[in-house]
Symmetry: C2
Subunit: 406 residues, 2 copies
């Protein structure tokens, strides 16, 4: 039901970033379903949100609060997405922000709300408000692991990663968590991702950084092609590390910090795929040889979202014909099929648009056997590249999604 061990390494605390976790009993009593993240004054906060036109009330409000004030709290509930809930849904989100703000002594616009779970049910505001004092009392810097558990819905395991790097003569920490297992084709964001660092970065640079990192991580994964109404990804920089503040992309500390941030984003995004609903394979569709990145992404998604390719992956069947057919319908302008090569885990199965002469079914079966599969596609028409990560399509995917919510 999930690929790989999912073992979490050590999660280093981030100075200036405290987390409280608790249970509001939104869907089930006793389940961790409410998380508050406290951001020290003077931090920079940046975020990207879903592009789904049906975006949820909390997404609308978080966008608005982020644009207008200095955020001090992130308020996250699971079990209810507060999406498709109209004007009352927006009022409910506002009310939760106000209650947290009153308890914490900040302005309501300094709270960014996030919800995930069932679409279209009224948010149980009272349960959330009643649990806030307990959650606030729980705040501490070494609470990342429980936070990762606290934002899970159909996830089978928490997703978190952490790393430290030397930056400007000091040690900087980046720690992040994510959640998501279905309705996954983020567009400028993931289901939910929260990443904090004690590095010092201006808000403008941080915003550029979150976009750039999301574009090559959360925006390169797909489980079912369904973009959520609630996707959001937040990057916080508390500035507690005593190095020069990074105020531009040309700052000498920008590149090493960005590289580490991107690695964290990619690891969190891949963790969502490894825990994809019903996943038995972790699949990288690595497209090279495109004229531009956009067409590599197009081909990657066409292959990654093809139900025929995905069921063949589930069956460990090296059905290269289905891969070629998906490439062919990806909509790439004047694609020369006779220049396309396809390898699976290093075995060249299709060459110049047809079966590779040296290829045997036995090789293909061996290449398809592992849990981790790389489908490498060379379009043979340029130097651009892009990789999309996805899962197979299994019976468990159907079971999970036919039974959830009924």
């Amino acid at each position: 039901m999930a690929v790989g061990s999912g073992e979490l390494g050590e999660l280093f605390p981030v100075s200036g970033f405290r987390i409280g976790v608790g249970s509001a009993g939104i869907k089930r009593p006793g389940r961790l379903d409410l998380v508050v993240m406290e951001i020290a004054p003077g931090s920079s906060v940046a975020a990207v949100f879903t592009r789904n036109a049906f975006c949820a009330a909390p997404v609308q409000l978080a966008r608005q609060h982020l644009a207008g004030s200095e955020p001090r709290y992130l308020l996250i509930n699971t079990g209810n997405a507060n999406a498709g809930t109209g004007a009352p849904g927006l009022q409910n989100a506002v009310h939760c922000c106000e209650q947290l703000a009153a308890l914490a002594g900040v302005d309501a616009t300094q709270v960014l709300p996030f919800s995930t779970g069932v679409i279209g049910e009224p948010l149980p505001v009272d349960k959330i408000v009643n649990a806030l004092p307990e959650v606030l009392a729980d705040k501490r810097e070494d609470n990342w692991r429980r936070a990762a558990e606290g934002i899970m819905t159909t996830d089978t395991r928490p997703k978190a990663t952490s790393r430290r790097l030397e930056l400007g003569g000091t040690t900087v920490t980046i720690t992040g968590i994510s959640k998501g297992a279905g309705m996954i084709k983020p567009n400028m964001a993931t289901m939910l991702g929260y990443i904090a660092t004690d590095a010092a970065v201006t808000t403008e640079v941080l915003q550029q950084m979150v976009r750039r990192a999301a574009d090559c991580s959360f925006n390169r994964i797909t489980i079912d092609g369904d973009t959520s109404t609630n996707d959001a990804c937040v990057l916080v920089a508390t500035g507690h590390a005593p190095h020069d503040r990074i105020d531009s992309e040309r700052h000498p500390l920008y590149a090493p910090l960005y590289e580490a941030v991107e690695a964290v984003f990619i690891e969190l995004a891949q963790a969502i795929i490894r825990d994809g609903e019903g996943a038995t394979k972790f699949v990288s569709v690595a497209v090279t040889g495109g004229r531009e990145e956009r067409e590599c992404v197009q081909v990657g998604y066409a292959v990654a979202e093809s139900p025929l390719v995905k069921t063949a992956l589930f069956a460990s069947d090296p059905n290269w014909g289905r891969i070629l057919a998906a490439i062919g319908r990806a909509g790439v302008e004047s694609l020369d099929v006779n220049a396309v090569d396809v390898s699976i885990n290093g075995v060249l199965i299709a060459e110049r648009g047809g079966r590779s002469p040296g290829y045997t079914e036995e090789q293909g079966a061996a290449a398809m056997a592992p849990e981790e599969i790389t489908i490498a596609i060379d379009l043979g028409r340029g130097d651009a590249a892009a990789t999309i990560w996805t899962t197979d399509l299994s019976h468990d995917y159907v079971t999970i999604n036919a039974e959830y919510r009924t």
Copy 2:
């Protein structure tokens, strides 16, 4: 495994159009897998083909022959798609056309070849050539039913329809067959469709007619979003009916003939969906209130191809949140979600972007129970409309596609 009875009505012969059916033993001995259709001299022939860049060798050749000569024979084999087979595949297709042409006393360019089945295996030319004399000897006008069986692959039942109409003082017949159950998202054509009429129509008008009818039938269905490499749809008019030849869209007989042709196309396209791999539901996604037809088609496909919507349909779960989420990510410019209504089989479940106030889960469950489901979506921003037909996503879909070919 299929929706509805699938009972075929009477299939009227079309004067000037004879069909031979036989078994070449391509995949299994004894299975009907080879069909030859003989077109009387002086007939008009028009066709549309897949837009997949990886189109099969027979598609390339059929396109070329159709453009350059007066077709007299259609040669169709199942069990092997002759796709992804490179230059040898093209030679094999040419060779089959030459052999049929020699036996029939026509030019090889007057034969249009069609193949369907496994991608990437060499076409067993000898088996096909050896069976040709038997198939030619079998030619007769009342052979439509066996032809419908002869072009099946993963289909569970033959697909055919027939109708007669009074036209210009005489009776005209239209009869057609189709096949397809997977890799179904035709683009300007279906998997395979053959429709013949004894009406008299010029080639130019017939070509316009096949495009127009395919656009609102075969190009409005999707099972898995995967466009085949071999899609083709052929419309033949033998002209044996003694009415005025239809030589323009303004001809008084054009409209009544077109209407009947379109009805045949829609019935054949819907038959493919009813027999969709693993289908337990026949689903019409009827989108209205769009600014233009294109955006209605976009929304229709986004909903029809959403794995989350499809698994909810399989579970008979009125999960309108998933429908709204799919509409929201369809990419419609500046969509106002607060103007969108959604009904299922006449029950208004979402109104102005949220749950309909009068709606109860019991109503939703009752609306989702039947085999035939209409999801009506009103975008509330214009007068354009389009309907997409699709299936649910069931365990059997996964089983069929994980086991096929392995």
